[in-house]
């Protein structure tokens, strides 16, 4: 049954709402409490009151250890019981059952798997009340939003198809290199790392291996990148406000790109300097 189909007692609703708002309760919470009270009032009127309000009587005869009616426990209970505290302002006729509710007595856990009650109905109601403090109010501006389908998905599809087509054409006409069988006794000249490590290899020409090899490049750069969001405390994303960050990052990017380009195209036999237009390119992907 949809929420809005439920019969409500309008009079109770208005009164409880006014009382709750008078107490300074948040509007959403107050409406919820008023609705709960009005619902119970309507049910009481139509004569199904006792059935709709589960008897909060202690479990007779069990004699279990008394358990204080802690707020979370009450909340998980069915509607009428859960609303005990909030409904305090509700009219006596409605809230009588809940107001006079004694402390809940729960039987001690026996460890036995409970048997289904004889003659219990097949269907059961699932109902939960959320405590007011459990409600998170999420407020977000609607903004200028569009549907992902079709707008974004079509754009993504077109981008993928363009890349796939370009890559297929390239792969049709340009073969990936395959040299002669590996020979551990014959070092090719020059021997270069894959292109994305050539910046690092180039760096090794200038610095002590310990500095360039592991201390400097991978560790430091990766670490610096990883902690960047925690170091950069500037909340703005406007390029004009981020001159330092953008400068530093661009420098890092240019540094890597220049080193990689030098290592790729300007290093020849013996890893010595060459001019690619004069001595040719010693580079393989």
């Amino acid at each position: 049954m949809a929420r809005d189909d439920t019969a409500l007692d309008q009079e109770t609703f208005d009164r409880v709402l006014a009382e709750e708002l008078g107490k300074g309760t948040d509007r959403r919470v107050a409406e919820g409490r008023a609705r709960a009270a009005a619902l119970r009032a309507a049910r009481a009127k139509s004569g199904e009151g006792p059935a709709a309000t589960p008897a909060p009587a202690p479990a007779a005869g069990d004699g279990g250890a008394p358990e204080p009616a802690a707020a979370p426990a009450a909340v998980a209970a069915p509607a009428a019981v859960g609303a005990t505290a909030p409904a305090a302002a509700a009219p006596a006729s409605v809230a009588a059952a809940t107001l006079t509710a004694p402390e809940r007595q729960a039987p001690a856990p026996t460890g036995n798997v409970p048997e289904p009650k004889k003659g219990a109905p097949e269907k059961h109601r699932l109902l939960a009340l959320v405590p007011p403090e459990g409600i998170q109010r999420v407020e977000r501006e609607q903004g200028d939003r569009i549907n992902v389908w079709p707008h974004l998905l079509i754009e993504e599809f077109v981008a993928m198809m363009i890349v796939l087509a370009a890559l297929t054409i390239f792969a049709t006409f340009v073969n990936a290199p395959l040299r002669e069988l590996a020979n551990p006794n014959l070092t090719p000249n020059p021997s270069k790392a894959p292109w994305y490590f050539l910046g690092l290899q180039e760096l090794l020409r200038y610095f002590h291996p310990m500095v360039a090899g592991v201390l400097f490049a991978p560790t430091l750069v990766l670490l610096a990148l990883a902690v960047a969001p925690y170091v950069d405390r500037n909340p703005s994303t406007k390029p004009g406000d981020r001159k330092i960050a953008i400068t530093l990052f661009t420098m890092l990017l240019m540094f890597g790109a220049v080193l990689t380009i030098i290592g790729s195209f300007f290093r020849g036999t013996g890893y010595n300097w060459v001019w690619p237009w004069a001595q040719g390119v010693f580079f393989e992907l």
Binding site: L153, L178, P188, V214, P229, I246
Partner: protein
């Protein structure tokens, strides 16, 4: 004989789309289901009720569509990863990571892929060039994210995951580089791993762990093969899932600037 009236293609299609089988496959809101209307509701359902599309939110900021904001780089990196997975699986059917002295099955298999495998050369080329392109797009994606300031709260952690993904992409590319077992592969990897040999204190251990020996040999090939086809993709997919999930949780596309 009664004249048989053939249904028009449209009618036939409609009849197929009425069947229980069809309707059980395409959930409500699918554009393949009969009765799809171009309404806000059906557009939302089209995103929600599709296993691939529901990575996306139903609605997004309009500026996120602007090509010059994202350049589609993240999506293209993911697409290349899918492409590399598919071409890679195909290549796996024809490749053995064995390079014992005198056999060099790996290299022979490479030659067979180029010459006798059905579309082997094209698939290998796609795999190779796609891999280089992916390193490139992932790097550019990182640059884009930086320049738009998208790593700022609440997206700090997703940036960290992204750095890890870049690292994993390099690892995948580098481990794959050895597999052809030709002069280029072995010596590039020898040079590349010797860079790790410069690490302080643990130089020897690090190198031994990477190579499975003191030089690039058959053990290295097997080790890097397993890393390349199984271990690294496995880790990458986990972080990729976190990456995508966090985009949604952190409020979708960043910006506008």
């Amino acid at each position: 004989m009664a004249k048989l009236k053939l249904p028009t293609p449209t009618e036939a299609l409609d009849r197929v789309r009425e069947t229980e089988v069809w309707r059980s496959i395409f959930r409500p809101g699918s554009i393949f289901r009969r009765g799809y209307r171009d309404t806000s509701r059906d557009r939302a359902l089209a995103t929600m009720n599709n296993v691939l599309y529901h990575l996306h939110p139903v609605k997004m900021k309009r500026h996120g569509l602007k090509l010059t904001y994202t350049f589609c780089l993240g999506g293209l990196s993911f697409f290349l990863f899918i492409l590399l997975t598919i071409t890679g699986i195909y290549l796996m059917f024809f490749y053995r990571p064995a390079a014992e002295l005198g056999s060099a099955a790996a290299y022979t298999d490479m030659q067979n892929i180029r010459t006798s495998v059905f579309f082997g050369d094209l698939v290998r080329n796609l795999h190779r060039w796609g891999a280089h392109l992916m390193v490139f797009t992932v790097t550019l994606h990182m640059a884009r994210v930086f320049y738009t300031g998208s790593y700022k709260p609440p997206r700090e952690f997703n940036w960290v995951v992204g750095v890890l993904l870049l690292f994993l992409t390099l690892g995948l590319s580098f481990t794959g580089y050895l597999l052809p077992w030709d002069q280029l592969a072995v010596w590039a990897v020898t040079v590349g791993t010797s860079l790790a040999g410069y690490s302080p204190l643990i130089a020897k251990q690090a190198n031994f762990l990477l190579l499975g020996g003191v030089i690039v040999g058959p053990d290295t090939l097997l080790r890097w093969y397993v890393l390349h086809v199984l271990a690294l993709p496995f880790v990458l997919v986990i972080f990729l899932s976190v990456h995508f999930w966090r985009i949604r949780k952190d409020g979708g596309i960043s910006g506008p600037l």
